[in-house]
Symmetry: C2
């Protein structure tokens, strides 16, 4: 593991983030919330710390795939650290753990919040929350579609062949090409949603905040009533449409837009299951709630059901209804969908539809083998045989998932949190959703949890977002045993100087 | 699938069960509860129905391993039917679904009850409940150690080589030999527990009922306060010791008793994890409850903690304390242990310790492979490499488990049951434990659940007890497509007559 090269990249990312820290300043002036100096300060601190890191660690060209684990985990940890500063300096009395929780919730596109009264916060700070989502979403796309497949983890290794960009190449150019193409789609959708929301009467600020939170499947809203604030069916439909899009594999979007063939979506087996799950869950929830007279109107009931199903399955976490008050079967269905999550290669979290699909294909194959033991079966997806390594990796994923869920649940409830709040808070953060049930339900927040529980949940957000393996690898001693001495910048400079002197150039 | 041969076996089992239906009669006379005629009637009905089945279906010698699935599932369904009759005729006003629930709960050694006031029931009926447990436990031992390995399912396929009895032989003699050896151990433990409980002051009736329920890891007690009724530390220690033994692989007991080497246990990796889990969970629960002043005395607190951990991990379900009132972390820990269950080849239910062990060994191997991709690793247990088929079968098991859990949970909550009661009632029945949390907690019962929920839970008990695969196979159309016309008894008789006539014997 090349520690120096890894830190060098993180230094660059910090400087990049410090530029984004300037974006809330126009809003600060517009709303006159007096926060502009805070963002200038934070941006300066970011640039400074990034600069110091770059001055210490020289870049190393030959980063291998193993270094990718450290780059990913440490950059998320570092950026969330810098991103937490505006909350800490915003003048509101929150602890550092709270601010870091909020920032990590933003960058991991989780959307769990510790703020009790969101609207009491300065507008520019709320805009910053949305920006962390949007950047997190960008990070996730490039992570899941360009980096993780190279590392051999994440559901997307299945689609290696389907991915845009050159395939056999060095790490950096490959990632850059893929990122450029997919970010194009991401940006296009974001602009389109901002435009459509403004058509619905939202101002630029509200439209941008919600578009950022939607496309990243984050769920931070600048309003206490979340997306329900606008009381507009049109706005809800726009948001739910883009949640639906954000939960789909972005390389699928790219291909569909590139070729102009809308049927590209339907040909994808993961997409079909995603659509089926959404349809079935919406109908059941609508039916049960109509039956129990929770909904009085079929049309608004349909909209509310579809919105909640999408907000949960895509792991966005916007609220338009307090589903904690719905009949138990609806709650259980929504909690089950929390585990499913979006498609692989989307900005959604959770286990991912493709893993669930393969898991059950495997079970079916097993049953068939019991009846016809000599028949050699294979699992196919989209007509292609799924390699054995992929199935092995999925089994391992479930094992780590269950282990993290269990350990986190035990620690959180050990801090005195009740069993339903404790387990659903772990589910909500590990799957990057946002709200859970009971004391962390859709109308509640995470602020009242003990600090220990928050630290555990921060870990869950990160582990869930980085597909578990990435974080788990970094926790093994084997990984750190491979660490190499960094290339110090001054050493590099000294070498250069010596070479120049040898050539007589100085 | 040889339908005729399968039914013939079930006919024989019904006749066997009708003999056991006579065992409560002495208790009925002793307690003068006026139930003896009911048991005579039920026994007669059992013998009659068994006789009719035997008169219709001739035996078929060449039953294959596929027929084993049908034998196992249909015999559990049929015996539970006959076993439900005494409840139905006991004069208490319970519906047929309730009686079948109670009977299935007995034969699957689950221990969930629908009776509100157990002590109001006739003593002989309560004795019958214990007998169903004991017979169910016998069935499970022969099922998990002799039949399922031949069918290629269940955790015990791992221990094929370690199993007593001749290995390469026809189905029937092999099963009979294995059964004889293991039932010897089972009977020995039962008699020993009865003796030790009577030493503690229990009468023969109480001692037998509790010994039957302990060894089968069932949990039916003839007292409302369950094992807590006797208020005796000695009795609790005896019961917890035998719960501990009942949760261990019976072929391990056999080898240890045969060779006299107590170290045989420790050499077994599954046993070591079983012991570790029990120790760790007991210490955490003791610590948390002492900290929160739920326990005031360290020694009685230790006993209560250990008892609850054992009653849950072995899936017995005896109560000495209402753990639903304990801090959330204790409840979550106990719910987690509910999934673990006993060792493979024990009478305990659940997922089984060995599956959990292999699952996490797999995850560890996966992480190691990510760091050293070229190193070829293998999963070992007890020094032996675990074959790939076993790992595949475990993955399939988890997939079916999750599917059953999800579908059952949705249906049960759909009947209007709250989310905690609904999910824990599925967990408690699918893992054959007995009590869940909230409205089905340790001091509660299942009687108040809607009939639909009860039917689903009956299915869960059966599916969980028969290691899921067995039941799942029977639900596939492929299986039934292979069914063959039965050999009718009258046809067989006619053929015999013709042969005899041809030989001139008649």
């Amino acid at each position: 593991m090349r520690i120096g090269g890894v830190f060098n990249i993180i230094g660059k990312l910090l400087i990049l983030l410090s530029l984004f820290l300037l974006t809330p300043i126009p809003f600060s002036y517009y709303f006159a919330d007096g926060m502009s100096h805070v963002f200038v300060l934070c941006s300066g601190l970011g640039a400074l710390s990034g600069g110091i890191i770059l001055a210490i660690f020289a870049p190393e060209a030959d980063l291998g795939y193993r270094d990718g684990f450290a780059v990913v985990v440490l950059s998320w940890l570092g950026l969330a650290f810098l991103g937490a500063l505006p909350y800490y300096f915003s003048g509101v009395d929150y602890s550092w753990v709270d601010c870091y929780f909020e920032s990590m919730s933003g960058f991991t596109t989780t959307g769990s919040t510790i703020f009790t009264d969101i609207e009491a916060l300065p507008e520019s700070v709320l805009f910053w929350r949305a920006v962390t989502h949007w950047l997190g979403g960008m990070g996730i796309i490039v992570l899941s579609l360009a980096i993780l497949p190279l590392l051999g983890v994440g559901g997307m290794q299945l689609f290696q062949a389907e991915m845009p960009g050159p395939t056999k190449d060095r790490l950096a150019p490959r990632i850059q090409d893929t990122a450029r193409i997919l970010w194009g789609v991401y940006l296009l959708f974001t602009l389109l949603e901002i435009f459509l929301l403004m058509l619905g009467g939202l101002d630029f600020y509200d439209a941008t905040c919600h578009a950022f939170a939607t496309l990243a499947t984050g769920g931070f809203s600048p309003h206490n009533a979340s997306a329900g604030h606008f009381q507009s069916a049109y706005v809800e439909y726009v948001i739910l449409a883009f949640m639906f899009l954000a939960g789909i594999n972005f390389s699928l979007h790219h291909r569909a837009l590139w070729t102009g063939k809308i049927f590209t979506y339907w040909e994808n087996e993961e997409f079909r299951l995603y659509l089926t799950l959404i349809g079935a869950a919406t109908l059941i929830i609508l039916g049960v709630n109509m039956f129990h007279h929770v909904f009085t109107d079929l049309f608004s009931g349909f909209r509310t059901s579809l919105f909640q199903v999408l907000t949960i399955i895509t792991t966005t976490g916007f609220g338009t209804a307090d589903f904690d008050q719905w009949p138990a079967v609806c709650k259980l269905l929504l909690v089950s969908l929390m585990f499913v999550g979006g498609c692989a290669g989307s900005t959604g979290g959770g286990i991912k539809v493709v893993r669930i699909l393969l898991f059950f294909k495997y079970a079916r194959l097993q049953l068939r083998n019991l009846i016809h033991p000599r028949a050699v079966g294979a699992i196919k997806m989209g007509g292609e045989k799924v390699p054995r390594e992929v199935m092995i990796s999925i089994l391992g994923f479930f094992a780590i998932y269950i282990a993290v869920f269990f350990v986190a649940g035990i620690i959180v409830t050990m801090t005195g949190v009740d069993i339903l709040t404790g387990t659903t808070s772990v589910i909500a953060t590990l799957n990057n959703i946002g709200p859970g049930l009971h004391l962390v339900g859709p109308t509640q927040h995470f602020g009242h949890l003990p600090a220990t529980a928050k630290v555990v949940l921060i870990f869950c957000m990160l582990a869930g977002r980085l597909e578990l393996y990435t974080v788990a690898v970094l926790l093994t001693p084997d990984y750190w045993a491979m660490a190499r001495k960094p290339v110090w910048r001054w050493e590099l400079n000294r070498q250069r100087l010596e070479r120049a002197e040898a050539k007589g150039e100085v």
